[in-house]
C-alpha cells in the first residue's frame, strides 16, 4: 500500500475581489494546474446593500430610486419592473401612452446594457478601441436617457401608476439621430470583431454550456438564448405593449461565448427596431393615471351644498389648505391621504400649494399610497434575463416584503461548470459574457 501523500500538483489563485477582470466585485478561488483551471469556487456578496430589507422601510413609491441601483447599466428596466409589480397588486392599469413610454425606456436601457457588455468584454480581451466605439454609442444613449429622465444612470423614472413625465419635446428626432450613430458603432465593432481571427479564437467554443444545463440552472436571457432556447419574457409572457410590436428573438446554437456575443449584437438591432415602432404607434394622451379624476376641494363643498353625493363618491379631492380643517370634519373619507397613486407633476409640486401637499402626502411616512394586502410576482425581460419582482403587501403604505430575482445570480451559479477545464485566459470572455452586475447580483 502506498500511503505517501500525493504530491500537490495544483496551486490556488485568488482572483478578486480586487481584480481588473472581476468588474463589479466578486471573488473566484481557482485551483490551477499550470494555466489550466481544475476547480472554481465563486464567492459573491461583496456588494450586498440589503436592497430587499431596505425596501420594507420605504413607502411604495420611494423604493423606485433604489431599484436604479440593481442593474445600474439598465436602470429603467428595473424601475418599470418594480412599478409594474406594485400596479399588478393594486390592480391598476396605466394609460396606453404611459405603456409605450415605458417600453421605449426599457428598450433604450437594454441597448445600453448590451453595448456595455460587448464593449467591456472586448476591452478585456485587449481590443480597447472597440470598447471606446461602443461606449461612445452608449454615451449618446445616456444623453437621450438624461433628456428623458433627468439623469444618466440613477433614472428613477417609473412611478406606481405611470412615469415621471411625458416624452420631452423633439425626443423622437433626437432618438433617430442617435440610433444612426449607435448602428454605425455596432457595425464598426462588428467589422472589427466578428470576422477577426484572434477574437474568434478567443470566444469560439469557449465557456460552452449545454441547453439542459442552462435550463437546469434557471438561466434566462441572452445566455439561455445562445443555447438555442427562444425564451424571452417579452414574447413568452407579453407585458406592456410588446404583443403589438414586431421583433425577432435571436437565438444561438452552441451556447458559447461567440454565440452570446452575436445574440447581444442582434438584440441591439431588435431593440432599436422596437423603439422605432413605438414611435409610430404611440397614442397621444396622458402618460400616467391621475389628475383628471380629481377635483378641487371647493368643488366638493359646492357639491355637498347641493346634495350631489354621487360626485362626492366618484372623485378624489385635491387638497386645499384653507379647507383642510373644516373639510376633514365634514367628509373625512374624501380627505383620506391615499387619494391617488401617482405623484403630481413637478410643476404642480413646485408651483402651487395643492400640488406640494399632494406630493408630501404621498411621500410622507404612513401617508403614502396604500396597496391592498396580497402578494404577486411579475417578470420583465432585463438586460441579462428574467428580472422578477415578488412583492407582498399587508395593506399598509410600505411593502411587507420585496424580493428581486436577479437574472445574473443564476448564471453566476453555473460559472464553475463554464470555467472548469479551460484556461485562465478563458475566464475573461466567459465572465464578460455573463455580464455580472454587482448591484443586481448582490442586491
Amino acid at each position: 500500500m502506498n500511503n505517501a501523500p500525493r504530491a500537490r500538483k495544483t496551486f490556488m489563485l485568488n482572483m478578486g475581489p480586487q481584480h481588473p477582470a472581476m468588474h463589479g466585485i466578486v471573488r473566484l478561488i481557482l485551483e490551477l494546474e499550470g494555466e489550466l483551471i481544475k476547480d472554481v469556487d465563486v464567492e459573491i456578496g461583496y456588494l450586498h446593500r440589503a436592497f430587499e430589507k431596505h425596501a420594507e422601510s420605504e413607502t411604495w413609491n420611494n423604493v423606485v430610486p433604489w431599484t436604479d441601483r440593481l442593474n445600474y447599466v439598465s436602470p429603467l428596466i428595473n424601475n418599470v419592473g418594480y412599478a409594474m409589480a406594485v400596479e399588478k397588486l393594486a390592480g391598476i392599469e396605466i394609460p396606453e401612452r404611459g405603456q409605450y413610454i415605458r417600453t421605449i425606456a426599457c428598450e433604450l436601457s437594454r441597448v445600453t446594457d448590451h453595448l456595455t457588455c460587448v464593449g467591456a468584454s472586448a476591452m478585456e480581451l485587449g481590443a480597447f478601441t472597440v470598447f471606446l466605439y461602443l461606449i461612445k454609442a452608449r454615451e449618446y444613449l445616456y444623453q437621450i436617457i438624461d433628456n428623458l429622465t433627468g439623469a444618466r444612470i440613477t433614472t428613477n423614472y417609473a412611478r406606481v401608476g405611470g412615469v415621471k413625465a411625458d416624452l420631452p419635446q423633439g425626443f423622437e428626432e433626437k432618438c433617430r439621430d442617435v440610433f444612426k450613430k449607435v448602428r454605425e458603432a455596432v457595425r464598426d465593432s462588428d467589422k472589427l470583431l466578428t470576422k477577426n481571427r484572434i477574437f474568434m479564437d478567443r470566444v469560439d467554443k469557449t465557456g460552452v454550456i449545454s441547453q439542459s444545463d442552462a435550463l437546469a440552472y434557471g438561466i434566462t436571457g441572452p445566455f439561455l438564448r445562445s443555447t438555442g432556447v427562444p425564451y424571452d419574457v417579452r414574447r413568452a409572457h407579453p407585458y406592456l405593449v410588446y404583443d403589438r410590436l414586431d421583433f425577432e428573438i435571436p437565438v444561438g446554437t452552441t451556447g458559447d461565448n461567440f454565440d452570446r456575443y452575436l445574440v447581444r449584437l442582434a438584440e441591439i438591432e431588435q431593440s432599436l427596431r422596437i423603439i422605432e415602432q413605438c414611435f409610430k404607434q404611440i397614442p397621444p394622451g396622458k402618460h400616467s393615471l391621475e389628475a383628471a379624476e380629481m377635483k378641487n376641494a371647493y368643488e366638493f363643498e359646492d357639491a355637498g351644498k347641493f346634495g350631489d353625493t354621487a360626485l362626492l363618491k366618484k372623485y378624489a379631492a385635491k387638497v386645499d389648505q384653507t379647507l383642510e380643517g373644516g373639510g376633514r370634519l365634514q367628509h373625512g373619507d374624501i380627505d383620506s391621504p391615499s387619494r391617488s397613486a401617482v405623484l403630481p407633476p413637478k410643476e404642480e409640486t413646485y408651483g402651487n400649494i395643492e400640488g406640494l401637499m399632494n406630493h408630501f402626502e404621498l411621500i410622507m411616512w404612513s401617508w403614502g399610497i396604500k396597496i391592498p394586502a396580497g402578494e404577486t410576482y411579475i417578470a420583465v425581460e432585463g438586460g441579462n434575463g428574467e428580472l422578477g419582482f415578488h412583492i407582498v403587501s399587508d395593506g399598509s403604505d410600505r411593502p411587507y416584503r420585496v424580493r428581486c430575482r436577479p437574472p445574473c445570480l443564476y448564471i453566476m451559479a453555473a460559472l464553475p461548470i463554464l470555467l472548469k477545464d479551460s484556461y485562465i485566459a478563458d475566464i475573461i470572455p466567459t465572465f464578460g459574457s455573463v455580464n455580472m452586475i454587482g448591484g443586481e447580483l448582490d442586491r
Binding site: 489563485l13 494555466e35 472586448a122 478585456e124 480581451l125 477577426n196 484572434i198 484556461y423 485562465i424
Partner: protein, 351 residues
C-alpha cells in the same frame, strides 16, 4: 590623438547617441505617440493637460511628466520578495534592451576628413546574432521578476513570458536565416549595403521585396518578442496583471520602457534587414551630408515601422496562451523553414 583613442571615443559617442538620442528620446516619444495615435483612432482628444508655463504643445510634456511621476513615486517592495532579484530584474530587462539598441546600424561608412567613420555604434561581424542574443537575455528580467515577486500572478506572467519568448526566438532565428543566407553575412551593416541598387531597374533592392514572406513573419514574431498587444500575454492586464504586478515607481517604469525599447530594437532590425536600412534608392551617400541623410533616412523608416506596430497594437485583441504557442510553433516556424529552404534552393539554382 592616437588612432586607438579616437576609435574608442567615437564608439562611445555613437553608443551614447544610440542610447540617449534614439533610445530614450524615441521611447519617451512613443509614450506620447501611443496616447495620441490611439486617441485619433478612438475619436478621443488624448493627453493634453501637462504644461510648462501654460504651453501645452499637444501634450508633448506628458512623457516628461510621466518620468517625473515615476521617479518620485514610492518604491514599494512588498514583504516576502527576494530583494536582490526583485531589484535586478528591471535592470536586466532594460539593460539588455539598451545593448541591443546599440548594435543597430543607424548609418553606413562615410569618409570625412580623410578617414572612414562607421556610424554603427557597436561594429561587429555578427551584429544580427548580437541583437538577437540581447533580446533573448532580456527575458531573464521577466523571469526574475516573476519568480522573485512572491506572487502567483507574477509567477504566471513570468512563465508565460518565458514560454513565449523562447518559442518566438526560435521562430525569429528561422525567419532571419533566409535573409542572412541571401545577403551572405551576419553583419547588419553589410546587409544594409547589399540592399543598395535596384531590382530589374525599378524596385529598390530591399529585403521586403526579395524576402516578402520573411518580412511579414518577422513583424509578427518581432511584435511577440517585444511583448506588445496582441502578444502582451506576460502582462495580460485583464487576466493576470502581469509579471510586474509587485513593482512600483521607477522599477515599474523601467519595465514599461523596456517594452518601448524592445519595440524600437525590433523595428530597427526590420528596417536594417528588410527596408534597406539607411539606403535612399538611387543616391550614393557619403561625407558629412551623407551621414545626416543616412540618419534621417533610417529614423524615418524606423518611425514608419513603429507607427504600423502601434496601429496593430490598438486594433487587435489579445491571443490566448495556447493559441499563441500554436501560432508560433505550428504556423510561423514551418513557414519560416519553408521560406528558408526555398531561398537556399533559389540561390543555389540562380548562381
Amino acid at each position: 590623438m592616437s588612432p586607438l583613442l579616437t576609435s574608442v571615443l567615437w564608439t562611445l559617442i555613437k553608443v551614447a547617441f544610440a542610447l540617449f538620442a534614439v533610445g530614450l528620446n524615441i521611447a519617451g516619444l512613443l509614450g506620447w505617440v501611443e496616447r495620441k495615435q490611439s486617441a485619433v483612432l478612438q475619436d478621443r482628444i488624448g493627453a493634453n493637460r501637462a504644461d510648462i508655463l501654460g504651453f501645452r504643445i499637444l501634450g508633448l510634456f506628458h512623457p516628461i511628466a510621466d518620468a517625473v511621476k515615476m521617479l518620485t513615486k514610492e518604491d514599494f517592495v512588498p514583504t516576502g520578495v527576494n530583494r536582490l532579484f526583485h531589484t535586478m530584474a528591471p535592470c536586466f530587462s532594460l539593460g539588455f534592451a539598451f545593448l541591443g539598441l546599440a548594435a543597430i546600424p543607424y548609418g553606413g561608412v562615410v569618409h570625412v576628413a580623410g578617414k572612414a567613420w562607421s556610424l554603427v555604434p557597436i561594429e561587429s561581424p555578427v551584429g544580427l546574432l548580437f541583437v538577437l542574443a540581447m533580446l533573448g537575455l532580456g527575458l531573464h528580467g521577466v523571469m526574475m521578476a516573476g519568480w522573485a515577486s512572491n506572487s502567483n500572478y507574477a509567477l504566471l506572467g513570468g512563465l508565460r513570458g518565458a514560454a513565449q519568448m523562447i518559442s518566438y526566438e526560435i521562430c525569429m532565428g528561422a525567419i532571419l536565416a533566409a535573409p542572412a543566407f541571401l545577403y551572405g553575412t551576419l553583419d547588419l551593416e553589410t546587409m544594409v549595403e547589399k540592399q543598395g541598387g535596384f531590382l530589374w531597374g525599378m524596385i529598390p533592392n530591399w529585403g521586403c521585396f526579395t524576402q516578402p514572406l520573411a518580412f511579414i513573419l518577422f513583424l509578427v514574431a518581432g511584435t511577440a518578442l517585444s511583448k506588445r498587444t496582441p502578444f502582451d500575454l506576460p502582462e495580460g492586464e485583464a487576466e493576470i496583471v502581469g509579471y510586474h504586478v509587485e513593482y512600483s515607481g521607477m522599477k515599474f517604469g523601467m519595465f514599461l520602457m523596456t517594452d518601448f525599447i524592445e519595440t524600437i530594437v525590433v523595428s530597427g532590425l526590420a528596417v536594417a534587414i528588410f527596408l534597406g536600412g539607411w539606403q535612399i534608392p538611387g543616391m550614393a551617400l557619403d561625407g558629412l551630408s551623407g551621414a545626416v541623410l543616412m540618419l534621417a533616412s533610417f529614423i524615418t523608416k524606423l518611425l514608419a515601422v513603429l507607427f504600423v506596430l502601434m496601429q496593430i497594437r490598438w486594433t487587435l485583441p489579445r491571443f490566448r496562451f495556447d493559441q499563441l504557442l500554436s501560432l508560433g510553433w505550428k504556423n510561423i516556424l514551418p513557414l519560416a523553414l519553408a521560406n528558408f529552404l526555398v531561398t537556399i534552393w533559389g540561390i543555389y539554382l540562380w548562381r
